[in-house]
Amino acid sequence: MSKTVKIRKGLDIKLKGEAEKVINAIDLTNNFAIKPTDFHGVMPKMVVKPGDKVSAGDVIFFNKYQEEIKFCSPVSGEISEIVRGAKRRILEVRITADTELKYTSLGAKDPNSMSSDDVKSHLLSSGLWPFVKMRPLDVIANPNDQPKAIFVSAFDSSPLAPDYDFILHGEKENFQTGLDVIKHLTSGKVHLTLNNSASPDEVFKSATGVQINHINGMHPAGNVGTQIHHIDPINKGEIVWTLNAIDVAIIGKVFKTGRFDMTRVIAIAGSEVKAPKYYKTIIGAQVSPFLKNNLETGDVRVISGNVLTGDKIEEDGKLGFYSNQITVIPEGNNPRFSFTEGWMEPGFKKFSVSRSYFSWLMPNKKHVIDTNSNGEERAFVVTGEMEKVFPFDIYPMHLTKACMYNDLDEMENLGIYEVAPEDFALCEFVCTSKINVQSVIREGLDEVQREIM
């Protein structure tokens, strides 16, 4: 019962600096970190303290509100520092890694010969559970829920996104094992959605035990939220779990090898990277080795993740838990004269969805876009622009407004259960009034979690 979906709405932002399909190996520094801020809604309860020795796979902290969800160290070494921010919130747990990594033995497992409960408890105890996220709310899944389906997207359509076909090429067994693992988590189907506008790798095409769907269209076609909405939409009271395809392969690898091996291949991309390529690294690794002598001059912003949904990190910051890419774009922190490079210019270089700048004459041009917001925040004025990039049967502006004034009934009616902040990333990008739509939606979801769920 495979489904083929075609979406007409959306937007592919063409940016300069796509990663060349070469995997480079590079020596990582021994600085690693696990960032509790990567896990929305998790209140970390520390298990270790500075000076403790840990092996890869040892628990670092767990969620205070849900103690069975554990977060483990990706490397072996010594806890060097716990960095705290305002109100003593834990921002980073820093680990100085050993040169030779030691792994806590988890034991190799075969998911096909395990019961569902065993799989679940193994995922929880081994620290793999944080890879499983849930809709609604877009937070780490609650292991006590019964999801009606699990969705995995086989591609990332966001700007400068890493090519999953390339990264997972040759990881067929790990990926299939991962799918066999997550099959146990639901009584419903596991949906794997492939990109119909390209030819997907064998890894995905030959996946078994899942329903393979196809989707056609521009970004956000690769967002799992879009796929859920068109394949099996979430109604009130229903829960769907989602995983990233690359994380599925990581889960498969851990099950097969019995080691908490958090190695992943990431793309270093963006207009400010001299030689954008793929690199092999470990979750939580310091990103400076990839960027050293590899950046253009000038102020840059380093993003763990893509330009639409990623997190800002420093040049010596650490790779986020879920990130498959590091993007580097110019900072736009200088004032621009409006007649030469502002709102009065003809705009051959300025990218805009509206055709009010002449750059629309060159639809295939790859742009360099900096972090300037290109204007100040205003009340909503322009209508209809969000709808053009939002392939849901949901009114994005009205839902955003409902979140702004915290009307739970209206949020529910307008479809808050089906969306995650990342689904609104393009709305935020196109918004003429420069409203931070993703944070508004996140606050709305938090409100829903507090009051309803």
């Binding site: 940016l15 939409p233 109604n235 993003i303 330009v307 639409l308 949904t309 990623g310 993007t327 900072e331 736009g332 922190n333 004032p335 004269f337 409006s338 490079e341 502002g342 709102w343 009065m344 705009g347 300025k350 990218f351 805009s352 969805v353 509206s354 055709r355 009010s356 700048y357 750059s359 876009i369 900096d370 972090t371 300037n372 917001s373 290109n374 204007g375 100040e376 205003r378 009340a379 004025v381 322009v382 209508t383 209809g384 049967d393 949901i394 009114y395 502006m397 009205h398 009616n413 307008l414 990333a425 935020e428 990008f429 196109v430 918004c431 003429t432 009034s433 420069k434 739509v437 993703q438």
Partner: protein, 443 residues
């Protein structure tokens, strides 16, 4: 650029200094000259190049053809009124003089509109300590284009203040208003000073001071002339009915035949006189071509469909004006014009439907008024319904009401108020779809 930046920074008021309250004013000017060095902090790291200033600027660019043509047209009709130029035929004679007169007449209106309106905006920005929003950049240009050239400047100033304060600021400023600001100003003028804003003395600049109007120049607009024929036509209809009943009476009472006969003759004379006036008025309606080009009297910027069409091309080309609204408004107008034409009982209803849309403010309303995103319906489906009904009512009000010769302003203001209701039902339909999905699932 650096030096201008430096100069601007020199005047920046300290946030805790003596002039701290004036910071929004400085900010307003600074952001006109420079895109501020604001970077994204949350969410998407890159943002679209367009902002509200750019959006508003594109609308102003789209209004420029109307403004230029309006200036020239103002000059033209001034010289027609004074008898120095023929109304039709030699439109481009005395080009320099007409243009110069138009500039002298229209420029002060534009300056007063912007000066007063932005003054109010800055006042509220300082009072509430928020940044100056760009909404009035467009309203300030729309207002001069929808008033007659002879509007006294003080009236205009009062109307602008009313529109910005009552029409917009009381609701929270740009983006929050319920009715279109420019149309609020126009409605204020219309209802506040009806004698100055309608009739035969305002549409040709300076005509009020001309004692002996040239032959065939009454000073009325085409719609004014046509509206006049409505009452004359209905008078004729009653007269014809009385003649019929009188004729019956003649057969009933032959004794009084001569008395009835004189009455009939009297009525017939009235009918003939009325018919003469009607045909004179109908003949005075400018030809389709003249109306299309805009060489007709009317409000400053509303006359030329060609100039408005250029504006429409810019708005649609840049994607800033909603084609859904423009299209459905035109469609609504056409449907009503054809309906009235098919059931015509007077020359106004009988006017060619296309000609009906070309005259008056309909085209201007379709391109610049109905497309105001804040006051229009916000959902795509809602836009079709809103535009269609507003177009329908614009022509309905224009032709069938006895009091005003134009209905576009009324219809759009009316539907501005109904737009949230239309959206409400469109969104409820979406909500119901979602609930239904849940029900079919559980059933």
């Amino acid at each position: 650029m650096k030096s201008i930046e430096k100069l601007m920074r020199k005047f920046e008021p300290d946030h805790d200094g003596k002039w701290a309250k004036m910071h929004p004013v400085w900010d307003g000017f600074y952001t006109i000259l420079f895109t501020p060095p604001l970077t994204t902090q949350k969410g998407a790291h890159i943002r679209d190049g367009v902002d509200l200033k750019r959006t508003m600027m594109m609308v102003i660019v789209a209004l420029i053809p109307c403004l230029l043509f309006g200036m020239y047209n103002t000059g033209h009709w001034h010289y027609v009124a004074t008898g120095d130029a023929p109304a039709y035929g030699a439109y481009f004679d005395m080009f320099g003089a007409k243009l110069w007169f138009g500039i002298l007449k229209v420029l002060p209106i534009v300056i007063v509109s912007y000066g007063v309106g932005l003054g109010v905006e800055f006042f509220f920005a300082v009072k509430d300590q928020h940044s100056v929003a760009e909404g009035f950049l467009v309203s300030g240009m729309l207002i001069p284009l929808i008033v007659p050239a002879d509007v006294p400047l003080w009236m205009l100033a009062v109307a602008v203040i009313f529109a910005v304060v009552i029409g917009k600021e009381v609701f929270g400023g740009t983006g929050m208003n319920i009715v279109n600001v420019a149309l609020t100003a126009r409605a204020f003028l219309f209802f506040g000073y009806p004698t100055k804003m309608s009739g035969n003395d305002v549409w040709m600049s300076g005509i009020a001071n001309v004692e002996n109007r040239p032959d065939g120049v009454s000073g009325a607009t085409a719609l004014g002339d046509l509206a006049n024929t409505v009452s004359l036509s209905s008078e004729n209809r009653t007269a014809k009915e009385s003649i019929l009943s009188l004729k019956e009476k003649i057969t009933d009472m032959p004794d009084l035949a001569s008395m009835f006969q004189t009455k009939i003759e009297g009525l017939e004379k009235v009918i003939a006189e009325n018919e003469a006036v009607i045909s004179q008025k109908v003949a005075a309606v400018p030809s389709m071509m003249d109306s299309l080009m805009g060489m007709i009297p009317g409000s400053i910027g509303e006359t030329s469909v060609i100039a408005i069409g250029l504006g429409a091309l810019i708005l649609l080309g840049t994607g800033i004006g909603s084609w859904r609204l423009m299209f459905s408004f035109l469609l609504g107008g056409l449907v009503m014009a054809f309906t009235l034409n098919a059931t015509a009982i007077n020359p106004f209803m009988g006017l060619d439907p296309i000609h009906q849309l070309v005259l008056g403010g309909f085209a201007f309303g379709a391109v610049f008024m109905i497309t105001d995103p804040v006051t229009a319906a916000q959902t795509n489906t809602g836009k079709y319904i809103y535009g269609f009904l507003a177009g329908l009512f614009a022509i309905l009000v224009r032709v069938l009401n006895p009091a005003f010769p134009e209905g576009v302003m009324m219809a759009i203001l009316f539907f501005n108020i109904l737009a949230p209701l239309i959206d409400h039902y469109v969104i409820q339909a979406n909500v119901k779809r979602r609930l239904k999905r849940l029900k079919t699932k559980t059933a």
